[in-house]
Amino acid sequence: MTPGLKVLSPGLHTTVQDLGRIGYQVIGVPVSGALDGFALRLANALVGNPQGMAALEILVAGPTFEIAADSARLALVGTGASLGIRGEKARVVAEQSVTVQRGDIIEITLGRQSARCYLAVEGGIAVPRVLGSASTYVRAALGGLNGRALQRDDVIPLAVGCASERSELRVPAPPSGSPEQPIRVVLGPQHKYFRKESLAALLDAEFRVSKDADRMGMRLDGPALRHRWGWDIVSDAIATGSIQVPGSGQPIVLLADHQTTGGYPKIATVISADLPRLGRCRPGDPLRFVSVEPEAAEEMCRQSEREFAKLVGALEPAPSEIELDIGSLYGENLISGVTTGFE
């Protein structure tokens, strides 16, 4: 039988995602892919996968799975998220790998700090690639598991049926999240379509994430942003992170599943280094924006890539006995490969 994860409950919106479908925007196919590419890559690194492999993106409420494989090595990444194994008291915190056994029932819980997390499985998820990617794009039923979010009784096929024999890995210290910092944007491409005071409001005012948020975009509550010459422009292309402003004046930050083209002016675009922070936001969370020059934004992208490489390079062996109190083990000199869940 094909190894898999049997879905006992699907969570709110759990989809297979990788780093996106590249090269098909010209024919109207959105890029899709993980809202937080760094989290997906880190989860893969923790289980020893190539970083761009498909994993599960879990939004708002976590799923429950039964392990239908001899064993499986999992890693969850997402601030405050944790993984429980039914019958075991201790929970496995995010940012470390763990090996589970056939029949184990795995419950994913999200923390209050983040609206999403990623679950990677050693060897990867064995769904066919569609147009070069395993990412799910629900609107056109492309990719993932049958082109849709997980449902109860689905079986997510796994590429390998048992975990390899090696020690578990963890992130030495939680990644430094700085939620208080404003989100950095590059103005434009259509900032000149807006009144001066609205441009100032974008950078001075506080916005709040509204309830109207999904993988396509996130509508913000705050001061209405007013156009100088109307809001119906001749369509042009959209970049992930662009903040489009329709006639209502309420800005929408466009995320991974955004349409490839659109006819509303885009006042600014969130820099790629800050995109992961955006999708962690929950409805009601405050947001502020600060503008940077394109060249500075490119440098920030390179900087975050360097920091990420450093983080992956610093992954350290983690205890494989989940009963251990993780907190007390920080700072102890753990010997790698002492035991694995597979033994």
Binding site: I22, V130, I233, S235, D236, Q259, T269, S272, P294, A297
Partner: protein, 240 residues
């Protein structure tokens, strides 16, 4: 209008030729796209031609806005046109009954008869300006000016897949069921997007399209052939 380079964040550079729906602008956009595709400067991830601009997506780990702008600027003055492979498509459309829920209203609003509307729409050769909104969704123009109408005041929540629609100077085909605010004057049984095909989208930007009226019986027959993948949409190469 002067060509402008606009940043859309740190991963996209928009080369903007103008702000209108215009065949000459479109030719400039498509020509630059073809030139870049034939010999892409390093670091370009993909390009997207639209009515008015070419979006150049790039990897800031491999290049920069400045480098790309320097590489692209001289390409704007190239006179040669490497645009090849454009096709003229013959699309069967049923303009009757339930397939054309807005035909009577379009006729009323334009002061034409439904037959005039069909004759004008099926008598025009359209240019595919761009694809967007949904996978395989073509924006085509230009409609004869007698058919130009604003979008519906009351958008539909569900437009059936295959619907042939018009609004402003444009016509389009819905590849999927989706919400939509355009006027529906017919439907085609062909499949606009199929990820299993070597070319998933039927049309490419720069192609030409004609619509050929069919009746409901022909619609049903073609749909059956499409479902068994034994129907091929007629096309011919276009000289540019």
């Amino acid at each position: 209008m002067k060509v402008r380079f606009l940043s859309a964040g740190d991963r996209a550079l928009v080369v903007e030729f103008g702000d209108r729906v215009d065949r000459r602008l479109s030719e400039r956009v498509l020509r630059l796209d073809a030139i870049i595709r034939s010999n892409p400067p390093p670091g370009i991830v993909e390009t997207v031609p639209t009515f008015r601009s070419l979006a150049v997506y790039y990897d800031p780990l491999l290049t920069s806005r400045g480098e790309l702008q320097r590489a692209i600027t001289p390409l704007l003055d190239l006179r040669d046109n490497p645009r090849t492979g454009a096709k003229l498509w013959q699309v069967p459309v049923c303009y009757e009954g339930e397939f054309a829920p807005d035909l009577a209203e379009v006729a009323r609003l334009t002061g034409l008869t439904p037959n005039d509307v069909v004759a004008l729409h099926s008598g025009t050769r359209f240019h595919v300006y761009m694809l967007g909104f949904l996978p395989g969704f073509p924006y085509m123009g230009d409609l004869p000016s007698q058919l130009a109408l604003p979008r519906r005041a009351d958008p539909r929540l569900r437009v059936p897949a295959g619907s042939i629609s018009i609004a402003t100077s444009l016509t389009a085909i819905y590849p999927y069921e989706s919400p939509g605010g355009w006027h529906l004057i017919g439907a085609t049984p062909i499949r606009m997007f199929d990820p299993e095909r070597s070319e998933p989208a039927l049309f490419a930007p720069g192609d030409a399209v004609r619509f050929e009226p069919i009746d409901a019986a022909e619609f049903a027959a073609i749909r059956k052939a499409v479902d068994t993948r034994s129907y091929e949409v007629e096309s011919a190469p276009v000289a540019l």
